[in-house]
């Protein structure tokens, strides 16, 4: 319809000069600022990550390992408001507030490690599949399908179970599950780009695959990968917490899921706090990254773009 022609924001050319891409990001930021929900998400993320980073300043770190809950064996199951334990304590005398704050740090660590690992793996696998094509592509994609054919949580659960309960193993399990999406995205992009005539042009000029890769494929893959990564920053923590809730984290870890499961034992006796506060944190964390990821997708997705 004629109107769109006037209203639509100019879509950035696939692999335009750096200038256009910069302008694109300029637009993006403006878009983000315009969208209230995304802004809220951003604010939450900033708050959470701030809490994670400044945890040592917020609350006295436990020695020697600050990622372990400090346990006050003299004050088990204290309700919120107890002096020294504003949010109460767990059945092991752990200070819930400490868990809440350092849990953020644990979660940040978890999500950063997992996401970066998975992005790299996805990048490698996806690019190999996309560029080499043929048998290798076929094989890799089948592999991807197989990984996709087991529900995320269950797969991670099985892996973590086999590796034994520890935070490190949770990281491994999640990494093993989350790389698949990226592989798909990247492969899709590579193939898409390969079909674009200007890449052929580049070939004609005698551009090396590597340069095409760095000049065209990578920059264009960024957008979808960024969106996925943002969403995963939240999902990783969500599933990670679920695993440790089920009981696959190491003992006494300052992690939200662990605290929730500890608190669960006490709810019948009316001890609601030990599970409520940490769980809330998981929710907020996941919510924040979902809001932002969702916002980004709406903005970046060309389909919705025309409609906005």
């Amino acid at each position: 319809m004629a109107v769109d022609a006037d209203v639509r924001a100019p879509a950035a050319p696939l692999a335009g000069a750096l200038g256009t891409r910069l302008r694109r990001f300029g637009e993006l930021t403006r878009e983000v600022l315009r969208n209230p929900t995304t802004m809220i998400g951003l604010a939450l993320i900033v708050g959470m990550i701030g809490m994670a980073i400044f945890a040592p300043l917020l609350i006295e770190p436990n020695t020697p390992n600050p990622y372990q809950m400090p346990r006050d064996w003299g004050a088990l199951n204290e309700p919120p408001g107890t002096p020294g334990h504003i949010l109460g304590t767990t059945q092991q005398g752990g200070d819930v507030l400490y868990g809440v704050i350092w849990g953020a740090r644990t979660s940040l660590r978890l999500s950063l490690i997992v996401v970066s690992i998975t992005v790299v793996i996805g990048l490698i696998v996806g690019s190999l599949a996309g560029f080499l094509g043929g048998k290798i592509d076929e094989f890799l994609m089948r592999l991807v399908d197989i990984f996709l054919s087991i529900p995320e949580l269950i797969f991670a659960l099985a892996i973590a179970a086999v590796l034994g309960p520890s935070f490190g193993n949770i990281i491994l399990a999640l990494a093993a599950v989350f790389w698949v999406k990226y592989a798909r995205i990247i492969r899709g992009q590579v193939i898409h780009i390969k079909q674009n005539e200007y890449v052929d042009a580049a070939r004609v000029i005698g551009d090396s695959s590597l340069r095409i890769y760095s000049k065209d494929v990578l920059p264009n893959s960024i957008t979808p990968v960024v969106v996925q990564a943002t969403l995963d920053m939240g999902n990783v923590v969500l599933i990670g917490a679920t695993l440790s809730f089920i009981g696959l984290a190491e003992a006494g870890l300052a992690e939200w899921g662990v605290l929730v499961s500890q608190g669960q034992a006490g709810i019948s006796a009316g001890r609601w706090w030990a599970s409520t506060f940490p769980g809330l944190m998981v929710f907020v964390w996941a919510l924040a990254f979902n809001l932002v990821g969702d916002g980004l997708r709406d903005i970046l997705d060309p389909r919705t773009e025309t409609k906005r």
């Binding site: 319809m1 004629a2 109107v3 022609a5 006037d6 209203v7 924001a9």
Partner: protein
């Protein structure tokens, strides 16, 4: 004089089925207010074919859609003006089949509610019932949509619902506007059964559909279906679709482009409307089909004697199809008049440009003459001739005042100072001298 009514002398006696007066439709966009349609006036006479031509984005589609209020609002804004429409009713004598009472049109005009035909401001002294499409309430508009005014869309592939069979899509029209007739033909005209009525008008609830599937009402339902099938088949047959009874059971994607458009047309003419709006009905089709579709539209129009608003960017096509042509540019009508006159003696520089651009023997070795420049930004346009940047005859005044549409020589009007210069003008544009 204002040109609320048609500017030309009332030589021909035909009434006007619709008249657009000072229509303004704007769009809110991030960049600002887009004046897509900015003061458009024209009439459509009974039974005529009016061509509305112009480049993409000149606002012709918006104008057309404004008739049925299909412009999405927001972002669209109805910024002023009206679209007057004089609906007819089906001839009571022949119930739409065509007889001498209604001169074979199957339609009869309605007397103005205010003056009972005497003529009053309300009906603009025509004595006919006149309604303002841009103001009437939604439900009254619904009665007109598809019944008195129908529309053929540009791309049948998009305009037909992929999930419904052709039959059920055309049936909808009858269900909406012909439910009584359907009941009549099904021999249930007397039936007070609300369920059947709701069934015909497709407003049944889920459990009601179950009820209808049960023996007592099943047979009646069947009869209704058969009647509708008949009507749909007839409508399709009109568009010369080979064995319609079969085709109508198909899904759109199972039909060729031409077939789709025929179905589209059948759907549009199903209720024998007073006005048919054809929005570039052939552009989405391949050339071989185009001709036949156009032919079809013309035939049917002749048979139904309904007026047609034919939107197109293709002058040569308009020349073949239309009685009159309105040339639109940047949200304005720049020139309007009988087809042959326009082509014989285009008044507006833009029209000249367009005509010159038509590939023909006139230009040796088919070289194309293109109009320089592009359509101006329609965001908050300045009070000047919209064409001034591209006009080779423009003079200072063109950039200062906005020329109005005024009747020039012959029976047609144009919005250009070349033909109706303002009293106090230092220099005047003319086709003789070309400014650089």
């Amino acid at each position: 004089m204002t040109f609320a009514s048609a500017p030309e002398p009332a030589v021909d006696t035909a009434g006007t089925v619709a008249s657009v007066v000072g229509l303004r439709v704007h769009f809110e966009s991030k960049a600002g207010r887009v004046h897509a349609v900015d003061g458009v006036d024209f009439d459509i006479r009974d039974g005529e074919t009016l061509g509305l031509v112009g480049e993409t984005g000149c606002g012709k589609t918006v104008t057309a859609r404004s008739f049925l209020r299909l412009v999405p609002m927001p972002p669209g804004v109805h910024a002023g003006g009206s679209i007057y429409f004089r609906p007819h009713v089906r001839c009571s004598n022949c119930s739409g089949l065509g007889c001498d009472v209604c001169a074979g049109t199957g339609r009869l005009p309605v007397a103005c509610g205010e003056c009972a035909g005497g003529g009053c401001p309300h009906c603009d002294d025509t004595g006919f019932e006149t309604i303002d499409l841009s103001r009437i309430p939604e439900r009254q508009l619904r009665e007109i949509r598809g019944d008195r005014i129908a529309m053929i869309f540009q791309d049948p592939a998009k305009a037909l619902n992929p999930a419904l069979t052709v039959r059920s899509q055309i049936a909808e029209v009858f269900s909406q506007h012909r439910s009584d007739e359907v009941l009549e033909l099904a021999g249930l005209g007397t039936s007070r059964n609300p369920l059947l009525r709701r069934h015909v008008s497709q407003t049944t609830r889920l459990f009601e559909r179950w009820l209808l599937a049960l023996p007592p009402m099943r047979s009646q339902r069947r009869r209704i279906e058969q009647v509708i099938d008949g009507m749909v088949a007839a409508a399709l047959a009109e568009t010369q679709i080979p064995n319609p009874a079969k085709v109508m059971q198909r899904y759109p994607h199972e039909l060729s482009g031409g077939m789709k458009q025929r179905a589209m047309i059948a759907q549009a003419l199903a209720c024998n409307p007073d006005l048919l709006i054809a929005d570039e009905p052939t552009t989405a089709l391949d050339v071989t089909v185009q001709a036949r579709i156009i032919e079809l539209i013309k035939q049917l129009q002749v048979r139904h004697e309904s007026a047609v608003l034919y939107i197109s960017h293709d002058l040569s096509l308009v020349r073949r199809v239309c009685d009159r042509v309105a040339v639109m540019y940047a949200g304005r009508i720049v020139e309007i008049g009988p087809t042959e006159e326009i082509f014989a003696n285009p008044l507006h520089p833009y029209t000249r440009g367009l005509i010159a651009a038509i590939p023909s023997r006139a230009h040796d070795r088919g070289q194309l003459v293109a109009i320089k420049g592009t359509v101006p930004e329609l965001i908050d346009p300045p009070p000047s001739c919209r064409f001034v940047q591209r006009c080779s005859y423009a003079v200072s005044i063109c950039g200062e005042i906005d020329p109005e549409l005024a009747s020039g020589p012959g029976r047609h009007a144009a919005a250009c100072f070349i033909h109706n210069p303002p009293e106090d003008a230092a220099e005047l544009p003319s086709f003789s001298r070309v400014t650089t």
